[in-house]
């Protein structure tokens, strides 16, 4: 069912991605409980370690997901086999082993000792959120990324070039380039934070948007049969808007870290426009699905694609805008409002786009056009369980955040941090329940790959 045999390497990447995703959620649920029962699993898994594992697994599995998606997409778009399938497989194992060792390192050794063990002092890069990996792991990531980009780059350059695969390639190169800032660790704490955002912000609100837009466009073309030309124009505009707003939009992280105060203006103005590209993606997905030429048997993939467009708009666009203007951010900076936004944006945009690709491509790699009836029903259930519980996680954290802002920062006689945390504990309990539902959704999702049932009747395309 695959058009090119080498697309099959994607399967490895996707399986690993889902495995690590499960780990991420397990640690999330553990932390959610630690939020209300401070000594849960102490001293085996301290909160700070669990947090590091949770966020690092997220990044690593999304990278697996992006790579898998690219390996599936690029041969089909370029109309040729992958340049070097063996390299893709080799890099998979290297990345998996390096990733697993790193996570084990976090869990088994105190962080400072891990830094010593990996000789962090030679080139200190550790200790920054999302980028906690030992320097040697970071170097490994760069090598894997280079080999990966070389592989798909050569495939594209020697094959058919489409807007979709060129945009994807640009996004992936950008991902690798901005990661290089994680090696730059100035002593000055302002500069340190400043460049940290060059990785984190310019990833999720810059180059990753290109990756997301191209993956979404690919799946939408496949499942709707809409003309490429229509889609390509939209892609250009989405990308232009993403870059115009997103690059200077980095300024919304430079309000209070010691950078010059003109950032309050630039950051507010430009990041206020960042919802536009996310909104355009929603408009684009709605439009394409509305104009569809056929009803693809893989209904689950269509659902994921629409879900991505909607949830990314909600999480990144709406919840991002909520706290992006400097006068608002003055109060909300670093509160649960941020966590609410972080969860919904990451889930809605990047988790969901990878799951969309998996949903579309997995059946093809397993020799069917779409999952069987029962598998699809289960998958759609898991979609709703995960998505709705993420909406609730977001709402509960938003509630906790607003209360926190009010009691701790806005009120005339502000309360201390920990006193406020006690007062919002109810929200944390509810978040934990929603998190458990998310976990159930995820388990159902995994189970859907093994469900047996009637084949879907195929519409011809």
């Amino acid at each position: 069912m695959m058009k090119y045999e080498s697309q099959g390497v994607a399967k490895l990447y996707f399986i690993a991605a889902i495995g690590l995703f499960t780990g991420q959620i397990l640690f999330g649920v553990v932390m959610g409980l630690q939020y209300v029962m401070g000594d849960f699993l102490f001293p085996e898994i301290p909160f700070n370690v669990a947090r590091m594992v949770h966020t690092n697994l997220l990044i690593v599995w999304l990278l697996f997901g992006f790579m898998g998606s690219a390996y599936f997409l690029v041969p089909e778009e370029s109309e040729r086999e992958l340049y070097a399938p063996w390299l893709a497989k080799l890099m998979f194992w290297i990345f998996l082993v390096a990733g697993a060792l790193t996570i084990l390192g976090y869990l088994l050794v105190p962080y400072a000792q891990l830094a010593d063990l990996t000789m962090n002092d030679l080139l200190p890069t550790m200790g920054r959120e999302f980028l906690e990996q030992p320097t040697i792991t970071k170097i490994g990531i760069v090598i894997v990324a280079l080999a990966f980009i070389f592989n798909i780059g050569m495939t594209i350059l020697t094959g058919r070039k489409t807007v979709i695969n060129l945009v994807l390639l640009t996004g992936l190169v950008g991902l690798a380039v901005f990661f290089l800032f994680s090696f730059y660790n100035p002593d000055n704490i302002v500069l340190d934070k400043y460049f940290w955002w060059f990785v984190v912000h310019l990833w999720v609100e810059g180059v990753w948007e290109l990756i997301m837009a191209s993956l979404l466009a690919f799946v939408l073309i496949k499942v709707t049969g809409v003309d490429r030309e229509v889609i390509e124009k939209w892609l250009y505009i989405i990308i232009a808007m993403a870059l115009i707003s997103g690059l200077v939009g980095t300024g919304h992280h430079f309000f209070w870290i010691g950078t010059p105060d003109y950032w309050q203006w630039l950051g507010s103005i430009f990041s206020a426009l960042e919802p536009i590209p996310f909104f355009m993606m929603t408009l684009f997905a709605f439009n394409v699905v509305n104009k569809r030429r056929r009803d693809h048997p893989n209904k689950a993939a269509v659902l994921w694609a629409l879900g991505t467009a909607v949830m990314a708009f909600l999480g990144a666009g709406v919840w991002g805008f909520l706290h992006t203007l400097a006068p608002v951010n003055y109060y909300t900076h670093g509160t649960q409002v941020t966590a609410a936004h972080g969860h919904m944006a990451f889930y809605g945009a990047y988790v969901m786009v990878v799951l969309t690709m998996i949903s579309y491509s997995m059946p093809l790699m397993r020799g069917q056009k779409a999952g069987n009836q029962k598998a699809q029903v289960l998958e759609m259930w898991s979609f709703w369980l995960m998505t709705v519980s993420m909406v609730f996680i977001t709402l509960f954290l938003t509630g906790a955040g607003i209360l926190q802002v009010y009691l701790q920062r806005f009120s005339e006689d502000p309360l201390p941090f920990m006193v406020v945390q006690e007062k919002v504990a109810l929200f944390y309990w509810m978040r934990e329940v929603a998190g458990l539902v998310f976990l159930i959704g995820l388990i159902l999702y995994i189970y859907s790959f093994f469900a047996k049932g009637d084949e879907v009747v195929f519409a011809e395309d």
């Binding site: 909104f279 929603t282 699905v289 009803d295 269509v302 909607v310 709406v318 509630g399 607003i402 209360l403």
Partner: protein
Amino acid sequence: MNSDELQLKRASKAALFSLLNLTVLPVIGFIILLLIYQKSSSDSIDHYYSVIGIKTNVFAGIALLLVSGLMILLGGFDSPWTWVYVVSYFTFVHALFILFATWVLVRSWTGEKLKKNILSK
């Protein structure tokens, strides 16, 4: 331009201004929407979409401004819980209206009416 074409243009304009009224052009968007409504003859597609736009926005006005206003009134301006409800409610429901208006806009481009489900034909 024949009249069908004109109607279709107006229909998508109505859908667009309904969305704009919900987002960057509040009030002005609604006035333009009313003007489009006035120009349309009943039973035409532009009439259909301007009515939907007006209904959406009136309903959104009630659901967002009135309900939030009531929440503040009843909850008290100085109570943190008021703001917990108002901000979460307003943000979420507002976003839902925007998403709905976006879908309407997309439908209007094809000149068909709203119905017909997303996932089944």
